[in-house]
């Protein structure tokens, strides 16, 4: 009889019509390191949110047994009180506070409302020893690297007498050395009796550390592999991760001769001074006229950052390497330079940095190319209306009027407006960043059709996508990115789910 610290039985969770989890069973034995793996969108994070009370009891179906008791967490603090701690990929530390203040935030050592900072500092020292971090507890967080910050998060969890520690992609932002240390620490904690769930995309780590690994796919439990039975290996994990059927939802397009190389990037590196690391490293890629090039990889692989560094260095990275447009060296100082050179970038974050939600459809569509419909700086509104109506028809934007505010449209229609805006710029190369994220199947299909039409007209496309099906179904050639580097290049013929996933999880 196994001793389970956690049993999640028949968990189902629905988001307005979309099943995120269906009848998931997930069991963790006391004192083991259990890895949770799966593609983006497989349901890993949702499952952990159910566990930690982010989605309160009653918001999902099924039950959670923790430490032998059925639990009904209504809020995050309930799960914390029970001894569950989650450390998210985006660290939740206060950069301008000291280490000891961060460790005890929300859990302050006090008597009658007066804080005892000395006690906090002493205890912090002990906790920092436990996580093998040699820093002065009075150091400010923002002077520490990501690796050390990660350890402080763990120390914070330990301060609350954690029984089950959950780490969401803890090594995603870490370099090799820091990752190694972290894994070592997890083994130590295991020896001290702390159970650990780790979500990871890096299969090497999973193989190195996991006692068990549960694979999720499309919101369902596929299998649980056991290291002691020798079941945890790359081939087995990948096979279970990607086993999805690829249905024939991708419209065909006529094979045609490719033209000249229109974009080439060589030895391209982008350093983000805010993160203190490279977001793109030694990248070499090219795009030919009339080609859809896929940029595959998992979230956080650096695909968005790479595209934005090419698109006029929108985030002010420190750049190295060469960029050629139509064979000529290019040096973009501003996004407008890239647009002038014929490159357009359709963002993955429509609402965040793509659209003007409080403005109407026509203003959004014209925003990238107002010069094209104005003379002497005065906007020709009739022309603008004409253009907006054209895109409304050709892209099938479903709206009663182009005067509708974009904020009121559905995701699919917003994406079409976003696309329309960039088509109006009439670029040579369109970079589509997750073009079908969060939109329904019908709208997806329409967007694929638009992509094919654009290729027929001689445009080229770089498509960033985390959906393997889409990448395989639409692209002529595929680059796979992981850890800010291009890990491999595959032609349409040689690419399949397994080999892409293998490169992406390196």
């Amino acid at each position: 009889m196994s001793d389970y610290i956690l049993e999640m039985n028949q968990i189902s969770k629905e988001f307005t019509g979309v099943k995120a989890l269906s009848n998931v069973n997930f069991k963790v034995e006391r004192g083991e390191i259990h890895c949770l793996v799966g593609e983006n969108g497989a349901g890993k994070s949702t499952l952990m949110k159910v566990l930690s009370g982010v989605y309160p009891y009653g918001n999902y179906e099924g039950d959670i047994v923790f430490n032998g008791n059925v639990q009904q967490f209504n809020k995050i603090s309930d799960s914390v009180d029970a001894g569950i701690a989650i450390i998210y990929q985006e660290l939740a530390l206060f950069p301008d506070l000291a280490v000891y203040e961060n460790i005890f935030i929300g859990n302050e050592i006090q008597s009658n409302g007066i804080l005892d900072w000395n006690e906090a500092i002493v205890k912090s020292k002990q906790l920092l020893e436990k996580v093998k971090l040699k820093v002065n507890p009075e150091t400010l967080i923002n002077t520490l690297g990501v690796g050390k910050q990660q350890l402080i998060e763990i120390a914070k969890a330990l301060s609350k007498e954690v029984k089950l520690l959950i780490l969401d992609e803890p090594t995603a932002a870490l370099n090799e050395n820091d990752s190694e240390n972290l894994l070592e620490l997890l083994r130590d904690l295991k020896d001290q009796g702390i159970t650990c769930i780790m979500i990871s995309h890096k299969l090497k780590e999973v193989i190195a550390i996991a006692d068990k690994a549960t694979v999720l796919r499309d919101g369902e439990t596929i299998c649980t592999l056991d290291a002691s039975k020798g079941e945890i290996n790359e081939a087995a994990i990948i096979k279970n991760m990607v086993g999805r059927e690829i249905d024939d939802v991708y419209p065909k397009r006529a094979k045609k001769e490719l033209g000249e190389t229109i974009l080439e990037v060589s030895n391209w590196s982008a350093y983000d001074p805010n993160l203190g690391r490279h977001v793109a490293k030694d990248v070499n890629l090219h795009v030919k006229q009339g080609e859809i090039v896929g940029l595959a990889g998992l979230m956080g692989a650096g695909r968005t950052e790479l595209s934005q560094s090419i698109f006029g260095n929108a985030k002010n990275y420190k750049l190295q390497g060469d960029l050629f447009v139509d064979g000529m060296p290019a040096n973009f100082k501003h996004t407008s330079d890239a647009i002038k050179a014929g490159i357009a970038y359709v963002t993955e974050d429509r609402k965040g940095n793509g659209l003007f939600l409080l403005q109407d459809i026509k203003n959004n569509i014209s925003a990238g190319n107002l010069k094209g419909i104005s003379s002497k700086g005065i906007v020709n509104e009739n022309e603008e209306i004409k253009v907006a109506e054209e895109y409304r028809t050709s892209l099938g934007i479903k709206t009663p009027s182009i005067q509708q505010l974009v904020g009121n449209l559905s995701g699919g229609n917003q994406q079409k407006v976003s696309l329309g805006k960039w088509l109006f710029v009439s670029p040579k190369l369109l970079i589509l960043d997750e073009p079908t994220r969060g939109i329904d199947v019908g709208a997806k299909f329409e967007i694929y059709n638009v992509m094919n039409e654009l290729i027929d007209k001689g445009m080229s496309i770089i498509m960033i996508s985390s959906e393997l099906g889409e990448i395989l179904g639409m692209c002529d050639r595929i680059y796979v990115m992981a850890e800010s580097q291009i890990k491999g290049e595959l032609s349409k013929e040689e690419a399949n789910q397994e080999n892409i996933m293998q490169l992406a999880t390196q």
């Binding site: 698109f311 006029g312 929108a314 501003h334 996004t335 407008s336 890239a338 647009i339 002038k340 970038y345 963002t347 965040g352 940095n353 793509g354 659209l355 003007f356 939600l357 409080l358 403005q359 203003n363 014209s366 925003a367 990238g368 107002l370 010069k371 104005s374 700086g377 005065i378 906007v379 509104e381 009739n382 209306i385 109506e389 009027s401 005067q403 904020g407 805006k421």
Partner: protein, 391 residues
């Protein structure tokens, strides 16, 4: 009644814009009743508009600053300081007015560009950068007027900007003919542009109000313009201050609604990141808006100095807050991206009306502040509620 339903609908969908006009109307009617019609007398309305001038001009500028998600606190003392410089150039250096005014406006643009530089290029929060400006220009006024104290301006042409009226040509039944003509031209222009906009919308199958409703709107607005013109013509005619406000409104309304630059300003305000990714130069727009703010501050300083016929040591005190209040009453959104030139001017007129009306009634200064504060709060509450309804 279809028409009634339609009227309700029109008011409902444009509640924020119309709300302000309705509020202004209610305030004016209330004051008329409370002062036995004194408030709506030709002389008082003329005075009221003249006294709103220097704040209205600032409100238009600061509205745009707020639209791009910044703020400018330095504008009051900048206006005061540039007014003092104007007085010095006119009186102590004896420069002619047609040289002084361009110099002052250019100085204003220059001062605004410094703020723009600090905010857009150096990355200092606008609140802090302009708070520094507030202190600096306050000191600068004192320095400029240190030796002389208040500088009396006795240049008739200059003072006419704040106190003079457009020539009358001849009087017809006690009314100033030229002012009447200007009003009539204004009505014709309004009717023409409203009809052509409507035609355009029909051409593109946009929703338009019914013909009856449209006619009612035309008649209503024309009647208001006619009434104001008639009031002004009955006193001294249209003042130069009103002419300047109208020019500022027309130019800024045109730029913000019809030009590429205007679109870019609102784009930067509604989503700076998206604007940057659309190839819009965000820092250039920031420069431009602060530059325009500086120029309007200079204009405000000229209006105020001309109105007082002197440059005082405390000129410009609290102008910035009055202008910011006017902009918010006029419907600018603190979240950025939303705001109208006409709104800002109406906001300034609402605030001036309150002061004027309460002065006529002999309300003490203390309750005046409380009431104006209440109106500001109400306007913003109204804003938030109507926006929530729409969302």
């Amino acid at each position: 009644m279809n028409l009634l339903n339609e009227a309700k609908n029109v008011i409902k969908t444009n509640i924020r814009d119309y709300g302000m006009y309705i509020a202004l109307l209610i305030i004016m009617v209330t004051f008329s009743i409370l002062t036995d019609g004194l408030f709506m007398s030709s002389r008082n309305i003329s005075n009221l508009l003249d006294s709103a001038g220097y704040i209205a001009v600032l409100a238009v500028g600061v509205m745009l600053v707020i639209v791009i998600r910044h703020i400018d606190l330095s504008i009051g003392f900048l206006a005061g300081f540039l007014g003092a410089i104007a007085a010095i150039l006119l009186m102590q250096l004896g420069l002619p007015i047609y040289i002084v005014i361009p110099i002052i406006l250019i100085l204003g643009i220059f001062a605004g560009s410094i703020t723009g530089f600090l905010v857009a290029k150096v990355g200092i929060p606008a609140f802090v950068a302009t708070l520094a400006g507030w202190l600096i220009y306050r000191g600068a006024i004192l320095l400029a007027t240190e030796k002389t104290g208040t500088i009396i301006v006795d240049n008739d042409a200059f003072n006419a900007i704040g106190n003079g009226y457009i020539p009358s040509i001849m009087e017809v039944g006690g009314l100033h003919l030229f002012s009447l003509i200007v009003g009539a031209v204004g009505i014709l222009f309004y009717v023409y542009s409203a009809i052509s906009t409507r035609k355009n919308k029909i051409k593109y199958n946009f929703d338009v109000v019914s013909k009856q409703m449209f006619t009612i709107q035309l008649v209503f607005v024309s009647a208001i313009i006619a009434y104001i013109t008639w009031l002004l013509a009955g006193y001294n005619g249209i003042s130069w201050t009103v002419v300047i406000i109208l020019l500022v409104v027309i130019v800024y309304h045109f730029v913000t609604t019809k030009t590429v630059i205007g679109r870019h300003i609102y784009a930067v305000g509604s989503n700076p990141e998206a604007a940057h990714l659309s190839g819009i130069n965000v820092s250039k727009i920031t420069f431009l808006v602060f530059g325009s703010m500086g120029m309007l501050s200079a204009l405000s300083g000229i209006l105020f100095t001309a109105r007082l016929q002197s440059a005082t040591t405390t000129a410009g005190t609290l102008f910035e807050l009055d202008a910011i209040a006017a902009a918010f009453v006029g419907g600018v959104s603190a979240a950025g991206g939303v705001g109208k030139v006409t709104g800002a001017v109406i906001g300034a007129i609402v605030m001036a009306t309150l002061t004027n009306g309460m002065n006529l009634m002999g309300v003490g200064i203390a309750p005046q502040y409380v009431i104006r504060g209440g109106v500001l709060a109400l306007a913003v509450i109204f804003d938030v509620m109507t926006r929530r309804q729409r969302g």
